[in-house]
């Protein structure tokens, strides 16, 4: 049986949502409650069957869907959602403080005052905030936070941004004019999705590699949504294209390499691990390989071996 309490919790908030916002669209409800329209209609049908004894038409909750707009009546006893459980209150506090540490967005003062109102309405937390703070430590992303504030302001106002960006893959610092479209956090970093004037395409940039940022007075029209969806996620592994690289990690690094999320394939060969990856630039890979030292062997392509040899000789000349 699918989680009935999750569904009940949703229904107990869905009813007050509609009561407070009569005529709300199906679209808005399925977005807020993170469910498909099909599930939403099932939920509304279920609400329609509930009410007070003796469950005659006059006792049941009334649900009307008119032209994609939803109306509910005869449900005054469900005018407010259920109170928080202690764990929900702790969870909300934890998530608020994590957001401040990770992004500083939109402003920690707004979050703190919102939390203050919630605390005032609900009374004290069962687990003190001090206890929560001492049990979880989230590294503040200081460099990213400095840039994120400005980026989110330009996102709000659809302003063209000028930035100096360090491309790790090509080891290159360049100036660009971009149209910021969205921000995403994952694997410990913030990524900016933006239309890039240099390449004429939507690209993904790592926010901590933005050296400077200037919001211009120029505004832009966002591209249609489907266009935006086409850009690859910064977290997906490239499965094809670019240069195919095969590496063999020694037993000392095999276990570690297995955890890395850049390889499209990893095969054990005894205690060794043979990994495949698709790279659209080799420069960054040379740098990665330098750190692994003699614990990795390049199986192919020969070009990468040649480039690494050249680079090591260069470095040796610095140290001799």
């Amino acid at each position: 049986m699918p989680d009935p309490t999750g569904r009940i919790n949703r229904l107990l908030s869905l009813i007050p949502y509609v009561l407070k916002h009569q005529g709300v669209t199906l679209d808005e409800l399925s977005e807020v409650f993170e469910i498909s329209q099909e599930q939403l209609l099932k939920d509304l049908q279920l609400i329609f069957l509930c009410g007070q004894p003796d469950y005659t038409p006059a006792d049941l909750i009334e649900v009307d869907i008119d032209d994609d707009r939803v109306y509910i009546s005869m449900a005054d006893y469900f005018a407010r959602p259920l109170r928080f459980t202690p764990a929900e209150l702790s969870g909300l506090y934890l998530a608020c403080s994590a957001l401040v540490k990770l992004s500083g967005l939109p402003s920690s003062s707004a979050l703190m005052s919102a939390m203050g109102k919630i605390r005032d309405a609900l009374g004290v937390t069962p687990i003190s905030q001090d206890d929560i703070d001492k049990s979880v430590e989230i590294q503040t992303l200081a460099p990213e936070r400095a840039v994120l504030g400005e980026l989110s302001r330009s996102l709000d106002r659809r302003r063209v941004v000028e930035m100096e960006y360090y491309t790790y893959g090509r080891d290159d610092l360049t100036r660009r004019r971009v149209h910021p479209l969205s921000l995403q956090f994952g694997m410990g970093h913030w990524y900016l999705r933006a239309w890039d004037g240099r390449s004429g395409e939507v690209r993904v940039f790592r926010v901590d590699r933005i050296k400077d940022l200037k919001t211009t007075g120029e505004t832009f029209e966002p591209p249609p949504e489907e266009e935006e969806e086409k850009t690859p996620s910064p977290f997906s592994v490239t499965e094809s294209g670019g240069t195919e690289v095969h590496l063999r990690f020694s037993p000392a690094l095999a276990r570690w390499a297995k955890e890395q999320q850049i390889f499209s394939e990893a095969k054990e060969e005894g205690d060794y691990l043979v990994c495949t990856l698709h790279a659209d630039a080799l420069t960054w890979l040379e740098r990665e390989l330098l750190q692994y030292g003699t614990e990795v062997e390049i199986l192919s392509p020969p070009e990468l071996k040649e480039r690494l040899r050249h680079r090591v000789q260069n470095l040796l000349s610095i140290y001799s």
């Binding site: 009935p4 309490t5 569904r7 009940i8 919790n9 229904l11 107990l12 916002h21 808005e28 807020v32 006893y77 407010r80 109170r83 928080f84 459980t85 929900e88 969870g91 909300l92 934890l94 998530a95 608020c96 994590a98 992004s103 939109p106 919102a114 109102k117 049990s135 979880v136 430590e137 989230i138 590294q139 200081a142 460099p143 989110s152 302001r153 360090y166 080891d171 969205s182 921000l183 956090f185 994952g186 694997m187 901590d208 977290f235 570690w256 740098r287 330098l290 750190q291 030292g293 003699t294 690494l308 040899r309 050249h310 680079r311 090591v312 000789q313 470095l315 040796l316 140290y319 001799s320």
Partner: protein
């Protein structure tokens, strides 16, 4: 009869009741309870009641007559209803962003936070009611560690409960059953770690949560707890801000590394608050780093290739040279380009 429907009807009835409702009336009124025998109805009702109490529904048991022979049930409205909260637009945007974070299950208790935000949703509305501010174009990718593990570890840390799990350590390679007194959790560079007293190693250790192979369970589920005390001087930050080359291996020394203008700003941003950074006129700079593990430090320096140069100590410069020669040797003698 659908269980959700039955439970919603039960809540509705007990909320509206002027006086406590007896079992008989509940059975006779609510569809879904009637078809069964009295005994199986009672079992069913007990299960429903405990499900609802787990959800936080305040079901009260009260006497219905002066002799206390029969009891009834009711839900006091003042204990059930979440008070209405008026948020400003900024506060709404902030809380909608928190909702994004909880959808990504980035932190412990994310599901609970999401449930709380769902309860606030009538007071928050959605982005369209706030004119779709750009900061709501923020998303959080799903965090790799299972949020159940994070939540259990966190609860064990605040309730001082010993946990057990099987762990695949990087060094030893094989899985081992561990017992841990968890003191706290930290998030660093995209990964979660739990710090605590390890019963196997008999010292305070950090564990990467993604390397926990089994689920996390209480070591002594039968007792109430707390199972341990956190040492009075313990500070989570002493364990959470350790860089790879700070793990104790040998003697501590200071190293100076020069970074090129192309990269120095990145290094300064990342480590300028931890170590002394001496800016140079060309836009580059020198970072003075405390090193305890030379090999780990060299891994990091070499990841910058020609953009970083170890200036001192001389012995460390020598080690860089040795490492480079070994790499060259391994690359083999296929002729020089």
């Amino acid at each position: 009869m659908n269980k959700a429907e039955r439970l919603i009807n039960l809540i509705a009835m007990l909320l509206e009741a002027q006086r406590p409702v007896t079992l008989d009336r509940i059975r006779n009124s609510i569809p879904g309870y009637q078809q069964t025998t009295m005994a199986s109805f009672k079992r069913m009702f007990e299960r429903d009641k405990s499900d609802l109490r787990d959800m936080g529904v305040p079901i009260q048991v009260e006497q219905v007559d002066a002799f206390g022979e029969e009891v009834g049930y009711r839900i006091p409205k003042e204990e059930y209803y979440l008070p209405e909260i008026e948020f400003t637009t900024e506060e709404k945007v902030a809380l909608l962003l928190v909702n994004r974070l909880s959808s990504g299950e980035v932190v412990p208790l994310s599901r609970e936070a999401g449930a709380a935000l769902l309860k606030l949703s009538p007071d928050l509305g959605d982005g369209s009611r706030l004119g779709q501010p750009g900061s709501l174009h923020c998303k959080f990718a799903l965090q790799a560690e299972p949020v159940e593990d994070l939540t259990r570890l966190w609860e064990a840390a605040v309730r001082r409960r010993t946990v057990r799990f099987t762990y695949r350590s990087m060094g030893e390679g094989k899985e081992q059953e561990r017992q841990l007194d968890p003191y706290g959790l930290y998030f660093d560079r995209g990964a979660w770690y739990v710090v605590g007293y390890c019963h196997l190693r008999e010292e305070i250790r950090s564990f990467r949560v993604s390397r926990v192979e089994s689920g996390v369970e209480l070591a002594h589920p039968a007792v109430e707890g707390p199972d341990f005390k956190r040492p009075p001087g313990f500070k989570l930050e002493d364990y959470s801000r350790v860089l790879p080359w700070e793990f104790e291996e040998g003697a501590e020394y200071e190293a100076a590394v020069r970074f090129s203008p192309k990269i120095a700003w990145l290094v300064e941003r990342d480590l300028g608050e931890v170590y002394r950074f001496e800016p140079a006129e060309d836009g580059g700079g020198i970072l003075h780093v405390i090193v305890r593990n030379g090999e780990a430090f060299l891994n990091w320096v070499l990841s910058f290739a020609e953009d970083a140069e170890v200036l001192s100590p001389v012995a460390l410069r020598g080690k860089v040279g040795d490492r480079l020669l070994r790499i060259l040797d391994k690359l083999g003698g296929e002729g020089d380009a």
